[in-house]
Structure formats: C-alpha cells, structure tokens
Symmetry: D2
Subunit: 292 residues, 4 copies
C-alpha cells in the first residue's frame, strides 16, 4: 500500500520502519528533517510537508506528542487535511483527547476524507519489536482496510467501537491503569523503606503475586531509580492523565484516583522532574515521607 507516516519520534520512527519492513511504500515527514532522513536511508520517501507526504497515500498515519501537535499537522498550513485524497484515511495513533478525536472525525468527514483513531500501547522497545497493542475505533470497513497496517506494527489489534473517540477513551484509561500502578508502588516502597524492608524483596514478592512484565519492568525502574533516559516523560504522562480526566468529565464520571495521580505528577513537575521517566513519580511519595 501507499502509506505516509507523520511524526518520527521514538515511537513513530520504529512504527514507520516496521511498515517499510512489511513491504509498504512509505512516505515520511518529521518536523526536524534529520529523523526523516534516517528513514529515507532505509527506503522511505522523505517529504517536506505533511501535505506532500500524504498526497498519494491510501492511509496516512500520524504519531505526535499531543493534541496541539496533531491539530497543527492535520489542519495547519500544508497539513494532512489539505492534501489527503477523498476516501483516503487518516489514522491517528497518538494519545490524544477524545475531544480532539471527534474534531478529527468531523473535519475529515467534512472534506470527504476518512478518519480512524488507533492509539497504541507499548514503550519504544515494543514499537521496535513490532509488539504494540493497537486499539482501533471507527467504521468497521475502514478498520478492515487498515488491518494490514495494524498487523505490521503490533502484536494484537483490538476494536474499541464504531466511534473513533472510543479508542482514545480506552487508551487513556489504560495509561491511567499503569500510572496508578506507579503511584501504588511509590507509596508502598516509601512505607516499606521506612519499615526497614528491602524494596527489591517487596518487588520480588509482587512479581510472584502479579506475574506481570509491566510490574516487573516499572517496579524495577523505581527500585533502582533508573529514571533517565526516559522511555515516557513525566511531562507527557501528566498530559495523558489530564486527558483521561477530561474524558471522565465529558461523560460525568469522577476519577478521584486519577485526580490524585494528576496532582502528584504536577508536584513532580513543579519539583523539576518534567523530563524524567514517569516512574519517577516515586520521588513524590518519598518526599512526602521525608525520605529525600
């Protein structure tokens, strides 16, 4: 297929590479050209604008940091919407708000273009290893059409529903699940350290108990205080928890635990942890226990 891929950060570059490996024709665009050129060396066509990138694409994928970046790339000058062919699909893999997903659907539809939300779960290593979980939502026939693309970047595709924003709601709640695990570990470790129990020991029991690679991975990062380089920055994680709360507000559902995490992440940022990994949330509980 003729594809385009906009946004070549840690995640996006690996996803685009896997599309190339699967044999698709991929035109890439990135704000800072050097990242695009790297993909160019691996067989991608490099475009100078999002518009140029997707002019001849059947499917244009975007993987950007947030609503603001997505809005600019989709609807700014030389944006995707200005060039995408009628009937072609814009697939947003970014973790964006449900409000933004509705805006994308509305605007593309108004132009005779198609839109799907397909946010992904997985850290950069998973993107590289083609092991993402893809959560897609939108018209069933479009999802069918895009399935080869999803198969090329992930190990599993789940369909969240017929409205694109449903995938984003699911993705935001999933990130909340992980963030909550981080907060829980943080509080438990602070209490246990002050109780004289070795953190690694607690982690090993939790590994027996939960038997989850996610617990093992993040628990290990916290115990060893390995917060740099960040796989996912506190700044972006904070954004995601805020978006989860916005979705919850839209539908009228309080999420007090998400609020608590949001406040702790804001405290982390106010104390200089913006660019550390989000697992550095543990520092907030530690400070509140007088441990740092």
């Amino acid at each position: 297929m003729n594809l385009s891929f906009i946004g070549l950060g840690q995640m996006g570059a690996s996803m685009a590479r896997n599309l190339l490996r699967a044999g698709h024709h991929v035109t890439v665009y990135n704000r800072s050209r050097d990242k695009a050129d790297k993909l160019g060396a691996e067989g991608a066509r490099v475009a100078a604008t999002p518009a140029e990138a997707c002019r001849e694409s059947e499917i244009a994928l975007s993987m950007l940091a947030d609503d603001h970046a997505t809005d600019g790339v989709a609807f700014g000058a030389n944006g995707i919407a200005s060039a995408l062919a009628k009937g072609a699909v814009h697939v947003s893999c970014s973790t964006i708000s449900t409000a933004m997903a509705r805006r994308l659907e509305r605007e593309h539809t108004a132009r005779g273009q198609e839109y799907l939300s397909a946010p992904v779960f997985g850290r950069p290593e998973a993107a590289e290893a083609k092991k993402l979980i893809v959560v897609a939502a939108g018209k069933p026939d479009l999802i069918d059409r895009c399935r080869p693309v999803f198969d090329a970047i992930g190990r599993q595709t789940v369909v969240a529903g017929p409205e694109p924003a449903q995938a984003n709601a699911l993705k935001l709640c999933g990130n909340f699940m992980i963030a909550s695990m981080l907060e829980t570990f943080s509080e438990a470790f602070a209490t246990l350290r002050k109780s004289g129990v070795e953190p690694h020991l607690f982690l090993s029991v939790m590994n027996y108990l939960f038997a989850s690679p996610v617990y093992a991975n993040y628990g290990g990062m916290i115990v060893d205080e390995k917060f740099e380089p960040a796989g996912f920055t506190m700044r972006l994680a904070y954004k995601d928890v805020r978006l989860a709360l916005e979705t919850a507000q839209e539908v009228g559902s309080p999420m007090p635990l998400a609020s608590l995490i949001r406040d702790h992440m804001l405290s982390a940022i106010a104390n200089g942890q913006s660019e550390l990994d989000w697992s550095s949330l543990a520092y907030v509980a530690a400070r509140n226990s007088g441990l740092r």
Copy 2:
C-alpha cells in the same frame, strides 16, 4: 513434625490439610468445633482449646481473622502462650497489624517461647492448591526450622527480614497493591461504560497489556459483577487497608491512595456491601458516576 493449627476458616482449613498431606502430625482447633471435626476425619487430632492443641507442638500455626481474634487465641484463657513449650514457635499466618506482631514477639519472648510472622498471599483456591506465597520474618534459624512447614503450604517462601513485623508490613503493602488495582479498574470501568466502551473489551486489552492472572481474575469479577460468594469480604479488606495505614502512620509515611481506598471501602460498607467480595469496590465508583 508435631504441629498445631488454630483457625480453620476457608484459608486455614486448606493450609492445615496440606500440612497433613505432607505427613506432619497436626492437632487442630477451631472456635466452632464442626470445622475441626472435618479435619479430624482427614487425620488431624482435634483439640478443645488452643492450649490443648499446642501443648506438644514444635510449631503452632495460627490463621485468624484479625488482631482481636489473634490476641484472644494467643493470650486469652487457654491460649497458645499458656501452653506452648519453651523453645517452641508460634507462627502467625494471619494478616495482622505490625503492632500486634510486635506484641506477639514481646509476649512470647518473655515466656521463653519463639515467634515468627508468616502471612500468606493467595485466595482460598491457592491455599487449597498449595500455591500460597509465604512471607516469613523473624530470627533466621527459626525460619530455617519452619521451612518444611512453609514448603507444605506454599509455592514460594520469601524472607522479609529479621523482625517479625517486617513480614506483616510487606503483606499489608501487598494487599494494598491489589486493592489499588481494584479501585483503578473501578474508575476506569465507570468512565468507559459512560463512554460506550464495552468493559469486557477493556479488560481484554488490559490482559494483553499486564498479562497478569491477578488482573484477569479480579477484572473478570468486576466486569461480571460476581461478588458473591466472597473470596475475601469487603469487611476484612477494609481492615487490611486500615492496618496498612496504621503501619504507614507508625513509620511516618503518608499513603494518600490507601486513604482513598479506605474511604471508598468504608462507603461500600455504609452502603451494605460488607459481606460482598472486596472487588465490589466497583459499586462505589459506579454510584459516584450515577450508574447505579
């Protein structure tokens, strides 16, 4: 070995049975005699009081609901402490407070008896299947002496430290980890239900993501609202979260997420959920979202 086992609830009965199966001589005691007689039919000696049960034991295990019951069985009339031989060990497997563990250690030591804390992780099915995780703490030589007992009831024994209360701190924090997962699921499900996303779908994504049997099990109970019969009642879970907070207070460590869960469990109890499974915590978030 000559063992005694006090407290034959859902958990205790299975643990005692596994000790019998491992070839130990086990004398059992339970407040309501019928449960003891059941074990009697399987080869245990049945005693009329805790004192009688442990008079000739090398190791006396207790598995009771809470501090109050443990205190009564240990130090009440005809309690363990009144009969246990010098040098013999009382092993408390119950989920009790760190303060109670210190009291047990102090009192037994004063009588020339030994004490270990060895709380366990696992629901009744795991106790039955000999798949508990045993968290032991106390003098290393005592732990060595009791290891055959731990091996007979669990799949894994972890040593938390040289002070018995450390095992209880670890256990309480572990239960907090699970309780937090329940609260997180509860809030996510409420928001997703109001967003039109199928709860089973979200659960399946979480199963791909966390790949944890604990998530699968409890997530499934919540999605299907299978809160009866309770594997672990809200009433006891509430007690455990309170004990975790007490430990945190002792060592000077705030646990705001544990506080949040405590308050939601108290709300659950105030709304009649005392004897439902603790996974019915989901009803609190549902009510606060106007879903029930």
Copy 3:
C-alpha cells in the same frame, strides 16, 4: 459616565441597576430581550447587540456565565471588540479563567482598546444591596478611571495586581475557599448525624467559633436542605472549581483539596444535582455514608 452592561442574569441585573441609581448613563444588552426591557423601564437604554450597546461607552462591563459566553459576547459577530472605541475599557466582572482573561487583554490591546478584570464576590442579595467585593486587576490608571463604577456596585474594591488575570486567579481561589467550607460541613454533618449529634447544634457551635456570616448562611442551607432555588448552581460552581484547577496547573501548583471537591461536584452532577445550589454538595457525603 456613558456605560454599557452586557449580561443581565441575577447578578448582572442588580449590578446594572446600581449603576443607574448612581446616575450613570447605562446601555444594556441581554441575549433574551425581556430582562433588558426590565432595566429599560428603570432608565437604561436597551441595545439589540453587544456592539450596539458599547459603541459610545467609555466603559463596557460584562457579567456572563463562563468563558464561552464571554468569548461570544466579546469576539463574536456584533461583539464588544467590534465596536468599542479606541481607549475605551472592557471590564469583565464574570468568573472566567485566567487563560480567558489573558486572551481578552491580548485581543483588546491589539485593537487599541483597554481591558480590566474585575470579578466580584457576593451572592445575588449582595449584588442587589450594593455589597459586592470587587477584585480588580490591570493597569493602575485604568483602575482609577473605573473606580466610580466599582464604588457603585460594591462595598469594597481590592486591587489584585497589574495583570488582569491576577484578579481572576484571586477570585477563583476565593470561590475555592467557600467550596471547601461546603465540603467540610458536608463531611462533618454526615459523621455527626450518624453519631446522633443534632446538626443545628453543631452549626451553632461553629457560629460561635467562626463568627462568620458565610458559615452561618451556608451552614444553615445545608442543615435545612434548602437547595432550591439555587443562589449559585452546582453546574456553575463546578465550572469555577475546574477553572481554579486550570490556573493551578498553569502555574504548576497541585491543589488536591480542589481536586477532591471537583470530583464530588462531578458526582453531584452525575446524580442529578446540576441545578441545585452548590451547598447541596452535602448530598454526596451523605450518600457515601449511606444516609440517603
């Protein structure tokens, strides 16, 4: 002075009336004409659009429900900005976000117009009685120019700083102070009712203790469950707490108590209390205690 007043709700109508009484020429506009006509009968000129209302004004005051309404009246078709003379001042008395205040300042400045934020404290009765507290912020000379207007509507004018948004930050934090008092009363009353202590009795002690008319007023509303007609709806109060949290986020300051209140207000709304007075927050604590 030649004034205009846009937005004649419960608060705005009383404020406009007090400006008339003080001898100013006031042109009024309201979306639903009948409220404007009422003021017309009392001496105001009635305009058909915001633009028409403020074409010849030295000062244009607006008093609207939220950011959205303010944006429409200020920058929509036939909005204030399209007609206000160079050098004339738009004074927004509404409780709007700090972000909206900055936008108003930016846009008016770009057109050679002036802007002040001057939100007010006080319920409809206080507006009627000319007893509002006016919190003004912006260029000092502009504040001086507008002082006769502030004196005509309030009992006290406080200057928050040279940047308009500072008045809005202060106002939002002030509303948070009241909302917090409501939540505190709510939890205390729930616990005391379940303890068999008469709520009126507790209120009378709090009146001795705090000696504050605000406590007396709101405490009385809660004890007597007088939540209709609403002096200030839950819907609008919820908006204000959200705006306080947005300001806190902008400057990097967690407000966990504001988050708690926001979540309880959202729960109130999800349970049908949207149009009750915000003091009906007490129902949330009552429900969580199993009292309703």
Copy 4:
C-alpha cells in the same frame, strides 16, 4: 465548690486559674510539679497525685494531651477513679476519642462515680480570657450541677447530647473544620504566590468575605509564617484529625477531606514540623508546588 484540676498545660493552667478567680476551692495536680506550684502561689492547694487531688472534690476536671495521658490519670495507680467519691463527677475537658469517652463513662459508672465530657474550643489566649466555648455532654442533671464550673471557664456552653461521647464527636468535627480551613488557605496561597498575587492581599479579601476572626488569625499566621511558638502543635493536631477519622469509622462515615488533611499532617511531621504550629500545614502545599 470543692474542685480538683488535673493537667496544667497552657490550656489547663488558665482554666484552673479562672476557677480560682470564680471563688472555687481548687486542688491541682500536674505531672511536673513546678506548674502546680505556680497555681499554688495563686491560692490552689497542690496535690501529689491525681487521687489525692480529687479525694474530696465534688467535681474533678482533667485537661490532658490525649487518650493515653487521660487513661493514666484516670485509671492508673493513684488515678482519679481510685479516689473520687461516689456521686462525684469526673469532667474530661481534653480532646479525646469517642472510644475513650465511652470507656471513661463505663468505668466511672461501674464505680458509682459520674462522668461528663466537656471538651473546649479556643486557643491558650481564649482560655486565659475566659472565652472558651464549652461543649458538654452527659446526663442533664449532671450538666446542671457543673454549669457554674463551665461558666467560670468559658463564654458559652453548648449541650451536645445525653451521651458523653457526643461532645467529643462534636469537638473533633470542630477541629476538623479549622484544619480544613488551614489546608484550604495553604493550597490557595501556594497557587496565588505562583500566580504573582500578594498573599496579604488575598487574606484581606478573605477577611472581607468571611469576616471571621478565625480566618484572620490563622490566615495571618500562614502569610507571615509565624509557626513558633506553637499555640497548638502539629503533633497534637494530627492526633485530633486521626481521632475524628476514628469516630467517622466507628459510625461508618467516610471523611475523604479529613483523610487528605491527615496525610498532609503526617507529611509535615515526617519533614520535621512536629512541634511547629499546625498552621505550618502550609509548608506541605508549598513543597508540593516546588516553592520551598
């Protein structure tokens, strides 16, 4: 009347002094004798033990730091209960738990003695100035009998109900009301400082708005960071919030705001603020905002 007064801290000494001034015969006892001798110089008889102090009293008042101290003075060796005449009354003015109040009632009743709870509101200055608010609970005839005593120490006596513990529940909820005001101020000040709004300015607006001496007093302490010498230490305040939560738990009423305050006070203590005034709670919000 023949009175005795046990516990001559900042509060107790002033209360005992006011009883002397009102013409009562007062025998005093304090753990560290020097404080008792001071009162001795003002006309009190000084006793060597609580028992000796109250042997001939019609009414024995106690004013102690907490449950533990009260228990010791009441039921320890040479305690009140060992010496108080049948029919004489023990009046506990301390801020103790509702559980402790029930224990006092039960034990004194078993000895043919009488018991009243009469906790007081007011800081040391108010105790000195005879301006306390006395909250009494117990048998109506006993309250009548003790009224001259209450009149001698306070400006107002409120009867909470026929069961002593009701006065303690009310007192604990009242302290929670003040603690909540401290937390609210703390969060508002942190946000406003980061917004460039002068804290004194905000305080002056809150003084116009609430018109409460309690707000003026505590708000001023926070703004000026006057946390020493402590009128009421963080350590004792923390104890009170915990007792409020215990009462709430007894009756089945969640108090999430009290939980939040408890956690922040625990963080304050973990960060070395144990002996500062409880208004230093403001440091917690400041730290979480990166301000300290």
